[in-house]
Subunit: 352 residues, 2 copies
Amino acid sequence: MTLLLTNEDVEQVLDMPASVNALEPAYRDMVSGTAVSRRLSQTYLPGPLPDSSYCLKTVEGGSEALGVMAVRLTSDVLSGRYVGGKLRREKIAAAPGNRFLGLVLLFSLSTGELLAIMPDGIIQRLRVGASSALAAARLAREDATSLALIGAGNQAEAQVKGLACARVLEHVRVYSPTLEHRVEFANRMSRELGLRVDAVGSPAAALDGADIVATATNSGEPVLDVSLLRAGMHVTFIRESEGDAVTFQRADTLVVHSQQGEIDHYTPRGREDLAQLQRGRGYPWHNYPDLADLITGRTPGRTDDRQLTMFMNNLGIGIQFAALGAYVCREAREQGLGQEIPGDWFLESLQP
Amino acid sequence: MTLLLTNEDVEQVLDMPASVNALEPAYRDMVSGTAVSRRLSQTYLPGPLPDSSYCLKTVEGGSEALGVMAVRLTSDVLSGRYVGGKLRREKIAAAPGNRFLGLVLLFSLSTGELLAIMPDGIIQRLRVGASSALAAARLAREDATSLALIGAGNQAEAQVKGLACARVLEHVRVYSPTLEHRVEFANRMSRELGLRVDAVGSPAAALDGADIVATATNSGEPVLDVSLLRAGMHVTFIRESEGDAVTFQRADTLVVHSQQGEIDHYTPRGREDLAQLQRGRGYPWHNYPDLADLITGRTPGRTDDRQLTMFMNNLGIGIQFAALGAYVCREAREQGLGQEIPGDWFLESLQP
C-alpha cells in the first residue's frame, strides 16, 4: 500500500522540535557516506499568461538508515508582474480550488516501491527553520536571548520557531515593509510562542541589540545594511540574495547549507530569460564548510563571544525531505492517519 | 481528475508508427525554443544485498505545444553479481508481485496540476525505437532493405519495429550470444512483422551485406568489430559502450541523440563505486549534431550512397516522455481507458 497524506495529517505528527531531531542524523549520514542528495533542478517553460512562466522544481535524497529515497517536486505556475520597473515572478494558486502542487514522494530502497505521497507545504517550512536551528545551536552565543527578524511571512514564522528550539529566546523584534503584516505577525507569534514579539519600523530598529538576526524574505536585493552588524551576532539568511559579498566577508565564520550552491536551471533554447530571476550570484559556496561539517565537528562552531557568525541557508537538499518524510510516514502509520491507496497502481511487470 | 493508466492501457493506444509521429514535432520544438529537457540524473544508495545498489533515475521535459511537463522516474533495485570476474548490475523485480517501479507523470503548464500517471514500460521501449527510426529515415540509404541486429531483448524488438517504420525492410538477421534467445526472437518477429528474420551465429554473419546495423544490448563492451563496417551502411547504437572511439571515427556522419551526453551521477561521499558501471566514456557528444538538428535540417542527412552514417541513441531526454505521455493521455481519455483518481489528492492550499 501507498500512504497518501494531507498537510493536516503532516501537521498532526510533525512540529519544529521533531523536525530538528529528525534532520540532525541525516546530516551526519551525509558525512559518513551513507546518505546522498541530488542537486536541485528547475526546468522552465513559458507560462499561460504574458510574462508568466511554468517551473518544475525537483530535488532528491535518501539514506541507508532511513531506508528511503525521497523526491520533492513542485509544479509551479509563476505570474509575471512589473514592480518599480522590475519583473517579479510569484507563485500563483493556478490549480483547481486555488491550490498548488508540491509533493514529497518516498521510495523504498529495498523494494523500489512508492511508500508514501504527501504534500510539501508543512515540511517545506519546517525543514528550513529546523536547519537554521541546527546551525544556530552551534553558531549563536550560548546566552543569546534576542532575535531580530526581517520578514513576516511563512518562512519568517519557521525561523522564529526553529531558532526558539536552539536558544531560549526572550524577545523578538520583527520588521517587514508593510505595517499591517508585521503587526499581525508579532501578535500571532507572541501568542503562539508565549514570548515578547514587537513589530518595529526599520531593520535598524530590529537589529539594535539583537543576539541573533534572521532574514526570511522573498527579496532579490540585500535586506541588511552591513553597518548594522555587531561583534557576537549570529546572522542567518534563507537565500543568498538577502546578503551581499561585503556582508558575507564580514563573517568570522560562515557556514553554508549546501555546497552544491547553484541550482541547475534548464530553459528552452534562447529563453534563458525565464530563469533569470532565480540565478545565483556565483558565490563560491563550495569553498565554505556546510551544515553537515558543522554538525559533525569537521568545522568548529562558535569559539568566542566576539565572533560574527553567519549561516547561509541557501538551497534545499534532498536528504531534508527524506528525513522529515520518513518520520512523518512512520508516525502517521502508527496513528492511523491518511489513506492507504493500492501500491500496485504504481508498479509494472515490464522492466523499465 | 488525474488519469491513472496501466501498461495494457498504454499499449492499446500507442504503437511504433504513432510514437514516431508524436516524437517528431517535439524535436522540432527543442530547436525552435518552445521545448525543454532536463539532463538525466541517477542518484544511488547501497542496496539491500551485498554488491547490490538502489538507483533513482529521473529526467524531465515538456513543451508549450504539448501543454505539459513530464517527469520520468524509475526506482530501481540493482543486484550485483560477478560474471567472469567483473561486477554486473541488473535490475531486479524487487517490488511486491515481482514488479518494478517506473513512472511517467504529466503536469499541466497552465494549472500545475498532475494530469496523468502511467507506467513507463511500453513508452520506454517505443521511444528508443522511434528515435532510431527518425534518425534512420534521414541517414539510411533510401533503398535499404536489410537489417543486421545485435541483441534479442526488448530493445532489439523496438529497434526492428522502429527501423521498419523508416525503411521497407525485407530481411533481418539477428545475432545474440544465446542460441535459444535469437531463434525465439527471429521466429516471433518474423510472425509479427511479416518479414524474413533469420537467427545467425555471429555478428559477422549478421552484418554481411546489411544496409542498416542496429545494436541493442546491455553490453558494457563494444559489440561491433570495425572491420565489419562497409561504405553505405547506417549503424545505430542504443548505448555508447556498444561502440568505441575507432568505430565512431569511421563515420562520415555521426548524429547523437542528446548532446547532454553524460548522466549526472550522485553517490554518497566515498561511494563513487556505486555509479562506476554507468559512467560515460567522456566522448565529446556535445560537439556532434543531435537528432533535433537532423530533423530540422540544421545538419544534413545522408547525401551520398557511399557514406557510412551512425546514430548514437545515447541518452533518453525528457521531451520524449512528454510527447508520448501527452499522446497516450489524450487517446486514453478519448477511448475511456484507465481510471480517474481525484486530482486533489496531489494538491495543497499551502504555497510550496
